[in-house]
Symmetry: D2
Subunit: 227 residues, 4 copies
């Protein structure tokens, strides 16, 4: 069920984790939906491609693809087109994640095509300068993630607050209304609180929730931190 991105937002990236595949992906998505409904905070999930359709149809929170190719529907064996992402019921897609970087030329093309299709784009960036460059392409959201902190449990909001501030300032110059998230190492409500205080509109995280033994508890605390 198609649902728009609202801010502040918590986006949970399921990556290619076994703990977030198939039935488990659905369970995790239902937990996210429950927490979202209880707290009013927007929580989006980014499941694996094979789970996109299943989850989009079972939950009422925004569902994002983890990646989409720049191609139009045609002779592109193995590609995941934006049209397929849309047909699967997703709200949009992550793009340029540090584990799936894309060419600058493809990024422009894909953001434009997504806009035409009514799909939201959340573009990951690794430096304040790249964040500025991406901001000029007008995606729907930027998620600034210093790659060296991803999956470390050391939160970007605590370790690199000045880099977040710098990214926000640069982006504000060219695109002042663009919502910016931060990510990398986000693992508890405190990390989220600091991120929001710095001026971001939310967080992108993965292992902090997916690998947690108590995803409900972790997400609930984070969602409350957003209120």
């Amino acid at each position: 069920m198609f649902s728009r991105l609202r801010f502040p937002i918590i986006i949970v990236n399921f990556k290619a984790y076994q703990e977030a595949l198939g039935k488990k992906a659905l369970e995790l998505s239902r937990i996210a939906e429950e927490v979202s409904s209880e707290t009013g905070t927007c929580i989006a999930v980014a499941p694996q491609a094979v789970d996109l359709r299943l989850i989009s149809h079972e939950v009422k929170i925004p569902v994002l693809a983890q990646h989409a190719d720049p191609f139009t529907p045609d002779r592109y064996t193995g590609a995941i087109t934006l049209e397929a992402v849309k047909d699967a019921g997703a709200t949009g897609t992550l793009l340029n994640h540090s584990e799936r970087r894309i060419l600058l030329a493809d990024l422009d093309k894909t953001i434009k095509r997504a806009r035409g299709l009514g799909l939201a784009t959340v573009v990951c960036t690794d430096t304040p300068e790249v964040s500025l460059a991406v901001a000029t392409l007008s995606p729907d959201t930027i998620a600034y993630e210093p790659p060296e902190l991803i999956a470390t449990g050391r939160a970007v909001s605590k370790e690199k607050p000045e880099a977040i501030t710098r990214a926000l300032n640069l982006i504000a110059r060219v695109n002042p209304h663009l919502p910016v998230l931060c990510g990398a190492g986000i693992s508890d409500a405190e990390d989220v609180k600091i991120a929001l205080r710095l001026g971001t509109k939310g967080v992108l995280l993965a292992s902090g929730v997916v690998k947690s033994k108590e995803p409900y508890k972790v997400l609930r605390a984070m969602a409350e931190a957003c209120i």
Copy 2:
């Protein structure tokens, strides 16, 4: 519903075609299932990643992914793991299609991992020599497709019979029981007949069925040519 590959076989690759996405992918898969059931010829479909789970659960013919990444389930945003392919209910995966070539090192890794997971691999090749090289890695099937004929409507079995024979001979030296298909430009029953007469165990095709106005009729004739 998991179903094994049987030979002779017709594999229909849905590529990223709009005509074979979502509902239309399901319709096409049902047609393939119907023809397969009526004729006894094995017909497999290779839908887009977002459709794998849906189709695997709705039809009783083999369903293949169009591509799988070499990664184990872990921090690989945007990847399609073999575990995801299996969880989605697929029988196996195409690998190294001309529109999605993979590294030799990854091919070895992926074939081995697929074997361990009980997934079938259908590896595409572009020359008789590459076919021989791939045969030594012992995939479940090889689909030899000269790229210059793909999507031309000029069938490999008519245009390059001697190349097919050469590929078959080379493969037989190292792996005599490996079933070999051919592909590229296959568009009617006659093309299929010639392919089988040359010694292949079937065909891999796409536009010939996906872009046809009468997919049932085309597939039915092809399936009968296999009896």
Copy 3:
């Protein structure tokens, strides 16, 4: 012999053409040097990697690599580092050519590293929007080239003047002093004249000179058009 980029400029990309390899690359570079010296117009050449050192030592015009990898000197077999480009005596490097696109993240890294090493960067772009995005990364020059016109002989300055104007306007907003070139299909002095009249600081071209039977004559006319 190291020589700085001056504007207006004509950059001749030798691509992987046989007509611009080894001895022929040197001859062509000497012609460029001669024309530059006669007319006062800056002409730079971008030879193949194996010719960089030879040509940098034989001519006194700027020599550019066609591509450089983002890596620092280390365990990167097959890489062309910026340090190697510099050691070979080049002035800088082209980056992100349509035939060798790079990841956005690598572009940022490479521009920053080049700056630190005193190497000039000429970044190719394919749309006005990508030009704007690249401008925020502050390369030394941008070369806007609509890929569909490359190697056609139909000059971008005649076929897409409004796109050039749009690129110039977008870039001026964030980086008003950044020199912008245009490329694709540039084949005679008239094309160059129009390009300069539109506000660019020169052109990037390849086959128009490399494949010409009279490269001196073509270049000479183009260089005069810049005076």
Copy 4:
């Protein structure tokens, strides 16, 4: 000065190391030439692309590129063609190094093209199975290197003798006269001796010589181990 590969052989890969760039690459190549001349053992060097021509013209030992692209000379900005490698005076090229893997389809194409141009190919492989697959493509030499040991100083010949034996046996089945090298962690004469005793025709190494304070001494001992 063009020089053929002879066996046993020691191939020194300069990678993108700063210690083996430009003047230092030339010094190192002269040391290799000296040791080769003193001991009679064939020693080849694989310098960075920008140094290929310089070194090929200054030493009389075989010089190899570290990588070559599959493309014919044409519109391929940034590519290193086999024609450029040949024009630069090199004997041949490494292919498919673990730090620069190539597509299976490109490997076939590049080996065939190199043969036509009279260039030698040394193809790196990471498993015994991939070694077998590559052997069927008939390159001039295979260098089996388990990637997990590269740059560790823990020699493949000591750590994985059974894997080397397995690779040799598999290759012998399809191509009994193909010389096979091993690499990864090779750092002294003892490592080389064991490698030869296992049946290889030499070694491929990098840091063991390039990062050594006494490259002459290390190479000399290794070359003597080959007599």
